[in-house]
């Protein structure tokens, strides 16, 4: 599961949905995997406005990855001004969002404390009946 996906996942419990503490889920004992792929500037540019940047910063920090800029980078910051090539910011974002994935570990809701297991890159969000 790519790190980008973590920015779209919250606790599956209905009672947690309205609580800001339920997002983002906090990775625990996470094993990361890095797979190199071709850079896709258009995709990163389109995703930027859809990301919750505070959550991005929290999760990268907790995964022990390099710190992100304080604010969401602008579309201009993705292209190197002089050469027109992808900027370092874009390369870093691509590496983080699209090349890094969680292979195993847990995702923890800070509101209810429920832990969702991730195995072989697949997170399990099924809930026992008493939590539905």
């Amino acid at each position: 599961m790519k790190v980008l996906t973590l920015n779209f996942l919250t606790c599956a419990r209905k009672t947690c949905k309205q609580n800001p503490a339920a997002f983002p889920l906090h990775p625990k004992e996470a094993e990361l995997e890095q797979i190199e792929t071709d850079i896709n500037p258009l995709f990163i540019q389109n995703m930027l406005p859809r990301l919750d940047w505070e959550a991005m910063k929290t999760v990268t920090n907790e995964l022990g990855l390099p710190n992100l800029p304080l604010e969401t980078p602008t579309a201009e910051a993705l292209v190197d001004e002089s050469s027109g090539e992808p900027s370092q910011t874009l390369k870093d974002l691509h590496s983080l969002l699209m090349e890094t994935s969680v292979a195993s570990g847990k995702l923890v809701c800070a509101n209810c404390g429920h832990e969702y297991a991730v195995k072989e890159g697949i997170a399990n969000f099924l809930l026992p009946s008493h939590m539905v």
Binding site: A12, L42, R50, L126, V132
Partner: protein, 467 residues
Amino acid sequence: MEYLIRFAQLHETFRKPETDSLAELTGVTIDWEFYSEKSPYSIVRLDGGEWNSARARNLIARSILATGIYELWGAGTDYASLHADVRRRTQAVWPECYTQSFRFEIDAFHGSRSTEERRRIYESFKYMGFIGGVDMSKPDNQFTVFEEYQLDAVGNAGPEPIRLYLGRAVAESGRKAVNKYNLKKRKYIATTSMDAELSLVTANMALAAPGRIAYDPFTGTGSFPLSCAHFGSAVAGSDLDGRSIRGAPQRNVATNFAQYNTSHLYLGGFVADVTNSPLVQRRFLDSIVCDPPYGVREGLKVLGSPRIELQQEVILQDGTPAHLAPGYIPPKKPYSFFRMLDDILAFSADRLVDRGRLCMWMPVAGAVEETGSDEAIVGGETEFAIPRHPALEVLSVCTQDFNKWSRRLLTYRRLKDQDINQTELATYKEYRKTMNNDEATQGHRFSADDLNDFRRKYFQGFKDGVV
């Protein structure tokens, strides 16, 4: 200046909506001057004007149900009127083609021509005066004579075509992908995997494209996400049954993406239930594509349990909660089919971006009746209502007919917030609230058949009168 779009003569009700979707995606305005479900040939005008090969190529490049697009050089009801029309339309273009190489071919629908007849037809276009010579493999200009015959027509001197066109080829479609994604060649599939052709068409209708995200809440072995990734969209999928995503070590959803070289677009799969979805309630998805379970082959279930004792936390004998044990499988309860469709719509309205699309398949009990006109009418009382949501506009309803039942692909577009009818939205919210309350008070004592009309009819063999 018109174009002729050559369609495959199957999945007829999907052809126009697919092309319209591609027109929206590529920013082309398309006017349908002639279209019939009974004919593979349709005549369109693009952007209301001149021929523009780049735009025509763009429009058709990823089409699955079209085979190609041609400049329309002439149309007629017999060869005399066709030739007259060719002169009228294209005489001014001939000079630039004089010295270019060319090739003629015949595309006869419901008919055929002998080699001798073909040659005579090609030669009847001699007046255009091309001297560039014939090149069978890579001609500068590829001309096709389209002949349309009446089905089962007979005549004394052999049947004659009823409509004729001459077209100059502009571009081929993306139909080759159907073969590439053929389920027979895919490493990992299951009983209900959607066939390659219709998954690709669904991905087109959902406007899957580079820079976008598509999500399938009933991903199974990943047919829809694979098709969306084929068109360059990033994709994610989830399923209530984790086994379908995990598969086996060398046969699973991830290896399917590897097979088609689209792993870089696969954001991930996760195990989840649409009614308790972990996806944030933010509008970040461009497309939602799904074929929800019909409850016939695979059970229609959601998380929860009809048994009171399982609705409490279960503690094992050693004092630990059961749900924390390794290998714990949460209980599931049967679910109403229509409630599920409704939930998918509510889920989509909350997560699609403006103009984002939901493409959802649903079964219809009862086969489509053939009628005299081009319009197909779905058999009377057995038709299920199309689910609605005030924030989702129904764009198209396409039907795939089986022997005793049929299914439909419903395509919705997320309206901008300011375009949503507020009165309808208020009524809808009230209705959802009542439904949730009813469910809470009535408990969950329903069988799969009570909850799923389609399942019941399916096992009754769709016989009339037995309800």
